[in-house]
């Protein structure tokens, strides 16, 4: 079961943005019989941090690699500031990339790793070393310049990789699940560090992740991909509160499926009739409801029972069994957890707001 996620960071993109506009137009990419990208369209604003989110195999890394130049789309185009760079080799693109892990050159120390791009461009040793030191300071590692990658922790390695990606002052930064190999604490700290740097540099950033919490907490907008296509693109709050499809609703955050009866643009569920968010529906449906949209009230006449309670500080998550035997999750204020202890009889209803409905799932 997933934990609740916070909303958007609310941080605005700096006005001094120097990033480029990135556009993906109708990208198609197949690997043998597998479709990785199926007509992907995306537009990323200058200085924006866009998270590409989706399950494994949805095409998010392939899309990123098309921007980096490591993959070439079968159809479609990649544009940076309106210029078609689809055919431009990877080593001539104005994009720095941080890989998932273990991408530092093992034979070079941290300083030389950061300075690698400058060395390739024949920048004088003194200048490139000074610049590398500057960048190491920027990522909070001023004293690791002489250390080799195997002498650095995973988090330090990724910081060095970030400094290396920024060394050539690219206008686009590509992050391919850069935190996935790190432990939770380092991951959280580095995530904030990346966001801080991205905002201060104003660099357009594409951040690939399969972790919805990560995507929602750092991105200006999140693009959810499914089977090589864009399912929804929105700011984190909208994505969470107003998911466009049942797939997005269930992929982002926790979602209950409650049986209901639809009649056009209304649906009857748990004793209420609520507006349908989306196309009209008819007949038996499943209503998609967030745990925080479930209202649980202790009542001797209630037909539902609290079967489990998990205290989480400001909130408590309840597992409630309904009269028909079905169960749903509900988030209630933490201080209500005492009077809503397991075994208490309750009434259950929903917050009055539009809800997504979905075809009932077939029984396995």
């Amino acid at each position: 079961m997933t934990t609740p996620v916070t909303g958007a960071t609310g941080e605005a993109v700096t006005e001094a943005a120097t990033g480029a506009r990135v556009e993906l137009r109708g990208l198609h990419r197949r690997f043998g019989g597998t479709v990785a990208l199926d007509g992907l369209d995306l537009s990323i604003e200058p200085g924006e941090l866009l998270a590409l989110l989706g399950p494994s195999g949805c095409g998010k890394t392939t899309a990123l690699r098309c921007v980096a130049g490591f993959e070439h789309p079968d159809e479609g185009a990649v544009l940076i500031d309106g210029r078609d760079i689809t055919g431009v080799p990877a080593n001539r693109r104005d994009a720095g990339m941080v890989f998932q892990s273990y991408s530092l050159f093992p034979n070079l120390n941290a300083r030389d790793n950061v300075a690698f791009g400058l060395r390739v461009r024949k920048v004088a040793a003194a200048r490139r070393h000074a610049r590398a030191q500057e960048l190491l300071e920027l990522v909070g590692l001023p004293s690791v310049g002489e250390r080799y990658p195997h002498q650095l922790s995973g988090g330090q390695q990724q910081r060095v990789a970030l400094a290396r990606a920024l060394a050539l002052e690219p206008r686009v930064l590509l992050l391919d699940e850069p935190l996935s190999a790190l432990d939770a604490k380092v991951r959280s700290a580095l995530r904030e560090e990346i966001r801080r740097l991205q905002l201060s540099l104003g660099i357009t950033t594409i951040f690939v992740t399969h972790d919805q919490e990560e995507a929602l907490s750092v991105a200006d907008r999140v693009a959810v991909l499914r089977a090589g296509r864009l399912e929804q693109i929105a700011d984190p709050a909208t994505l969470y509160d107003r998911p466009a499809t049942p797939f997005v609703a269930e992929f982002v955050g926790t979602m209950n499926r409650v049986p209901g009866a639809a009649s056009g643009d209304r649906v009857a569920v748990l004793g209420r009739t609520l507006p349908v968010d989306g196309p009209p529906a008819h007949g038996p449906v499943e209503v998609l409801v967030r745990p925080e949209a479930v209202i649980v009230t202790p009542s001797a006449e209630g037909t539902a029972t609290v079967v489990a309670s998990s205290f989480r500080g400001s909130t408590a998550r309840l597992r409630v069994q309904l009269a028909d035997g079905g169960e749903l999750l509900a988030d209630v204020p933490g201080h209500d957890s005492v009077r809503l202890a397991p075994g208490v009889t309750v009434t259950v209803t929903l917050v009055d707001r539009p809800v997504l409905v979905s075809e009932p799932r077939r029984s396995p």
Partner: protein, 287 residues
């Protein structure tokens, strides 16, 4: 409060005892080395400095003159040529097949061919590219001055087992090159050449140096193939040792063979003296 450093770093008695007992396990190996390498070395050293019952440096002096010196230089030249060419060509072959469908076939063949030497190898080449060899006659190579029985002919035959040996040695190292390194280099503006120049070759360097030394050693010590192919046409130290031991040239000069063997040990030692610092330097990032 943390413990004092001295306490934390104090040796653990149990571990120390285990380590001292660990040496016992190496005793059979050390005994084997003493018998197989040590005893011959003592005999060799003793014999080198003895001629007709008296202690002398004449054998050693003679081993560094005339035909013997020419043979020593010839062996070093041949071994160095085979080592360098074998490593370069072997690395190219290994890189070409490492990610291809031919990989397993090439590795299996390399395992066999790397151990294919001696008289059978010489005969195979003589039958193919010797003066009356099948290919020589079909292509009329003899009319163009082709001969297998010279320095480059011998180099070619030695490469036959040296290239597969390189493939076996460097393939694991090539497998260790992560695709992300190449992509990270490209992403930083490097060309494929620059990737190999700054990352690929330095990462492979310890293995490449190891392959060079291995090939040098196996070519330097090879005897049977050369004896069957070129006799004394190409001056090689192993052939001279055989001649001196059998009294083929001069009777009573058997101990010059021991002196030549000592020369070979010194040359091998010099190669190692060059190799070890280079290897340490190329692998400093591994420590």
């Amino acid at each position: 409060m943390s413990r004092p450093a001295s306490t934390a770093s104090a040796p653990v008695p149990g571990r120390s005892r285990r380590r001292s007992r660990g040496w016992i396990a190496t005793a059979p190996l050390l005994a084997f080395v003493a018998v197989v390498f040590g005893a011959p070395l003592v005999v060799l050293l003793g014999g080198t400095f003895v001629r007709q019952g008296r202690f002398t440096g004449e054998n050693l002096a003679e081993s560094l003159q005339g035909a013997y010196l020419t043979a020593l230089i010839g062996s070093v030249k041949l071994s160095a040529t085979v080592a360098v060419l074998g490593t370069v060509l072997g690395v190219f072959l290994a890189q070409a097949v490492v990610a291809s469908r031919l990989r397993e076939a090439v590795l299996t063949a390399s395992g066999v061919l790397a151990n294919f030497g001696g008289v059978p190898l010489a005969f195979a080449w003589i039958a193919t590219l010797g003066n009356s060899g099948v290919v020589t006659r079909v292509l009329g190579l003899g009319e163009h001055g082709w001969s297998l029985y010279n320095f480059w002919g011998l180099t070619l035959v030695y490469l036959y087992f040296s290239i597969p040996l390189t493939v076996l040695v460097v393939t694991p190292a090539l497998d260790g090159l992560r695709p992300q390194w190449r992509e990270a280099a490209l992403n930083n503006g490097a060309s494929a050449w620059q990737y190999w120049r700054y990352v690929g070759v330095p990462v492979l360097a310890p293995s490449l140096l190891g392959a060079v030394v291995l090939l040098f050693g196996s070519a330097f010590a090879a005897y049977a193939t050369a004896a069957a192919m070129v006799g004394t046409t190409v001056p090689l130290v192993t052939l001279q040792i055989a001649n001196a031991l059998t009294g083929n040239v001069l009777i009573g000069h058997e101990n010059v063979a021991l002196a030549l063997s000592l020369d070979m040990i010194v040359i091998a030692g010099l190669v190692m003296a060059v190799y070890l610092p280079l290897q340490r330097r190329s692998a400093r990032w591994l420590r």
